[in-house]
Symmetry: C2
């Protein structure tokens, strides 16, 4: 019987009960408001966890990169959405191979991307569903409004090898209601059905419903993290993932330093002078700053006479951003609490870690 406390550090650990509650809670909320659940696997990158999401009621999964989709296809997933412009010969070749074995949908926002996929599918004798991405104001991808979306949808309906399936945005924002309604009206007049409107973002599923989406993509909700707590979308107790670290020195007055830094937690959402990680064992202590392999805890707010972290002590730190943290680790240990002990139940390889292509 392996206890979390016996694991070497730093190592990523997940409270399975909390994680399973997170899966159920979102699925229940989406069922209640009438949205399909298509979780984004970028947060966990582990097929076994994706299967739990499907078992709870998800209609399929979302993968940001082809490399992730390939890993999940290998693991038996049959309905995959890649909300990402797929460009260039090597990726188009992989895309068509993937399309032969799963139901594959891809988002595009340009004629060149749509034509590239269509041509590759035609040559390979396979088929991909296309969704048109509309920019919600993030200015990273997506067409600029209903007229552009209409033009792309019209073009797609004339192409071989691809079908127009609908619209997509990230993140879901209230202002999209009018754009989606206008696009649907324009396409209705063209006789082009909009079967799917896909929204996304942990905590944004009610907005997805309000703006007319049919499905919602959440990723971070499965583990949560300090950013999600700060946004008011979960409690600290609903954070399933933490990194077990060891205090390696207390030699600098006011600080205790642990054996995980930016190569363990990432520098995502780094805030100067504020907490970059919640220390479960010491709520008055916070992760102030990081170098690559050191995390420096500020202990100056611990009252006199109250215990402080000691060299060799192990701590659970909940990071700012679960998705970035996952991508730095090769394995995660799943555990359950039995009385006062955390007992390891499973060790999962993070199979899609580093699949950036």
């Amino acid at each position: 019987m392996l206890r979390v406390a016996d694991l070497d550090t730093p190592t990523m650990v997940v409270d399975l009960d909390v994680m399973e509650d997170n899966i159920r809670r979102l699925q229940d909320e989406l069922d209640t408001i009438g949205l399909e659940c298509r979780p984004h696997i970028k947060t966990h990158k582990i097929p076994a966890i994706g299967h739990k999401q499907l078992a709870a009621g998800a209609v399929g999964i979302t993968c940001q990169k082809l490399g992730e989709a390939e890993i999940f296809a290998d693991a038996g997933f049959t309905d995959i959405f890649v909300p990402y412009n797929i460009v260039g010969a090597p990726k188009l070749e992989r895309l068509t191979r993937l399309a032969r074995r799963v139901t594959l949908s891809v988002a595009i926002d340009s004629e060149v991307a749509a034509r590239g996929i269509a041509e590759a599918c035609r040559e390979a004798g396979t088929h991909v569903n296309l969704l048109v991405e509309i920019d919600t104001g993030g200015h990273r991808a997506g067409v600029q409004g209903a007229r552009e979306a209409q033009a792309l949808a019209r073009m797609i309906t004339d192409l071989p090898g691809v079908s127009f399936r609908g619209l997509m945005c990230f993140p879901s924002r209230p202002g999209m209601r009018d754009v989606f309604a206008e696009t649907r009206d324009l396409l209705a007049r063209d006789g082009i059905p909009v079967n799917v409107i896909s929204g996304g973002g942990t905590g944004a599923h009610r907005i997805s419903k309000e703006i007319g989406c049919t499905e919602h993509r959440s990723g971070t909700y499965i583990y949560n993290g300090l950013n999600v707590v700060r946004a008011g979308n979960c409690t600290i107790e609903q954070c399933a993932m933490s990194v077990l670290v060891t205090v390696v020195t207390t030699s600098c007055p006011g600080f205790s330093t642990v054996d995980g830094g930016s190569k363990t937690f990432t520098n995502d959402s780094l805030r100067s002078g504020a907490s970059n990680g919640y220390v479960r064992e010491y709520p008055d202590v916070y992760l102030e700053r990081m170098s690559e392999e050191h995390g420096v805890l500020n202990v100056s707010q611990v009252a006199e006479g109250v215990p402080r972290p000691r060299v060799g002590e192990k701590l659970h730190i909940i990071p700012n951003h679960a998705c970035g943290t996952t991508n730095l680790h090769d394995v995660v240990f799943g555990y359950r609490r039995h009385a006062a002990e955390e007992i390891v139940e499973v060790e999962w390889p993070i199979s899609a870690r580093g699949k950036i292509r």
Copy 2:
């Protein structure tokens, strides 16, 4: 013959001529000023590159984590310094196994860390050299001044299984001259020799010399990067490493988006409104922001009529921080320029990537 331009993206690539120049230039400078070179492998995490550093004249290497040291010991490195407090039973067991096959030095800053290593070495019948780390004001690790250093050095000389070898700091700062001098004086009166004073930091080797160091640990210098350029310690032309990316969309006015984000580049040294990556092909374009798999280039400073990045075009982006970037990639391609072409010469697995334990 594989061209860099034919590689799928995003992928890390290294100009071997520039890298070899960087190795030679630092070695020459250290030879000139009379410091031993003990490069930090955290930046490249590739044994084949470490061998190039040894061949150029390095006396040994520096590894921040035991897991890195194990990989490099497997690859034939025989003199390894781990400037990191090694704490806890699993690591002490690995440390003694490693000490049996290489000359191993470790930095400590507490009695508990020193006693743990000594006890483990005594039990295992092996030996480790200890250096006492002195805090240079970073407040992450290190004892607070000469008296504390003396106390630890005295204690170490009385312990079995370990030898006191000297002092260590990171980064090298001018203010350390007096602390090192005072510590050496105190230890001289105790009859304790200080064989090594180890300084560190890319660009800080002249400071290491000034404060009395005998060796210098540089890591980033081998690849350099935008942070090193900004610090005035290299030119853009001396940046050996870049990430090859593909433009996936230009749909948002004023921006072009590439297929690498924080899971490709890290968010290290992220600066709002400034450049987080230098685009070699378009000096007027800069990496403004990142999400996990998207990098958003600001193209608003490109003059009218001048070409801008197009969908499908491949670009070389030099990141802020090479060390963090390396840790996100499984392989790196080394190339050399032949006339106008970049020809791939080698594909190296990044063997010590993710070795955070």
